[in-house]
Symmetry: C2
């Protein structure tokens, strides 16, 4: 399995809970795909679309979002490299939300039929996809809690913790610090706050010595305290314990 095959991270993610048979592994890597390079702010999927491809994120970040009647936006999820961005659209007819680029990205477009065929013929892959989808649902449940029942400090601390642990688990973050490519407005849209208030909370977290910010770089000066503020527990991410990298958190 060559390290620079664009679907390597996807394959790793599919094997997070149980490793696949050799043959299945090869079939995933043999999936037909076409690489695209896209700029920040653009859309990968729009609500109401009837897509024919599944985009797998190779590099960069995207987020899922919905816009409400009064024009405000809610960010629903962050996708990191290796995530299959529109599994929903492979199996449901119409997209129910938008997917927008956070950074410049490389995505691999895989035809809908190729994925469906794998699911039809490879039970282990079908199971792995079910698991992926269930983990995504679990994260969404935690977001409902975050936005519904935590105050601004806890919301922001929590989302910082989540992002760090997920990146770390996929080998994409340095220890106790990472590049957070979100503006404060995007952070606000992810936490159900306003950008003004996000700013105040970030500054207060920094003033209290929990984090340091330099550019978009965030460093955790007191990881334990930040977890406490955000009531963060890794359980809902369903990252297996044998993943030693993630254990450093």
């Amino acid at each position: 399995m060559s390290q620079d095959h664009p679907l390597t991270l996807l394959l790793e993610q599919l094997q997070l809970h149980a490793s696949l048979p050799d043959e299945d592994r090869q079939l995933v890597l043999d999936l037909p795909y076409r690489l695209r390079r896209l700029d920040p702010g653009g859309y990968l999927v729009r609500e109401g679309d009837v897509p024919t491809h599944c985009a797998v994120l190779v590099t960069g970040y995207v987020y899922r979002q919905k816009v409400t009647g009064n024009g405000s936006r809610q960010i629903l999820a962050l996708c990191i490299p290796g995530d299959a961005v529109d599994l929903q659209n492979m199996f449901l007819k119409v997209s129910d939300h938008n997917v927008q680029l956070l950074t410049q990205c490389t995505v691999a477009d895989i035809p809908r039929e190729a994925i469906q065929h794998l699911v039809q013929t490879r039970p282990a892959i079908a199971t792995a996809i079910i698991e992926l989808t269930l983990v995504e649902a679990s994260i969404l449940r935690e977001w409902v809690v975050n936005v519904g029942r935590r105050d601004a400090r806890a919301r922001i601390a929590h989302i910082l913790c989540e992002f760090a642990v997920r990146l770390e688990a996929r080998g994409l973050a340095a220890n106790h610090g990472f590049e957070l490519p979100m503006t404060q407005e995007q952070l606000a849209d992810a936490t159900g706050l306003t950008s003004v208030h996000v700013n105040r909370v970030l500054k207060s977290l920094e003033a209290e010595g929990l984090i340091t910010r330099k550019r978009r770089q965030v460093h955790f000066d007191d990881w334990r305290a930040l977890q406490d503020v955000g009531e963060f527990s890794r359980r809902y991410l369903h990252i297996p314990d044998h993943d030693t990298l993630a254990q450093t958190y």
Copy 2:
């Protein structure tokens, strides 16, 4: 397919997007199960559990919930008859949330292995389960929007609309009115509000002629207006259009 087989509603739900082969249908109905009757307030699943069965709701309602550090509770989803309550636990090791009974319920417990075996051997069933899971994720996304970006009036209107349409789609609600078996406190926990505020909002919706309440019975006097207040659109529920009952909404 006998109408009073306890798994009939589950089977219908699995076939919401594509009908299953006859053989698969029979295999679903032949799943081994054990019926249990449980009282309101009890727990079906607790966070941290390692369950061995999948509970399918036959009658009654349950909800998913999580409790935060300061003791407040967030309701994450409502399950109605026909829902497979712990699919997550069939494929992930540990439960990440609690499931609590809203009303008295009858549940059918199906052994974990029986479900997994079906998924391994019946591609059409695996696909149907993926679809179910994706719809559940879509509903969760809408809940994040609801709690993150809508005011109290809209949140409550929205959840009333959702519940009504889902019940209707499964043939469980009368036209433009239904039994809402939730206390105002539970409604508050589902919308990220307090019960006091829920009370005020419900009264104001009633005063404006959008709904009528009698006991726990809710009637929609102005369905269109209620949808507008809640910015409700059925799309995210992914209920196929050919479902004529749901069309009345």
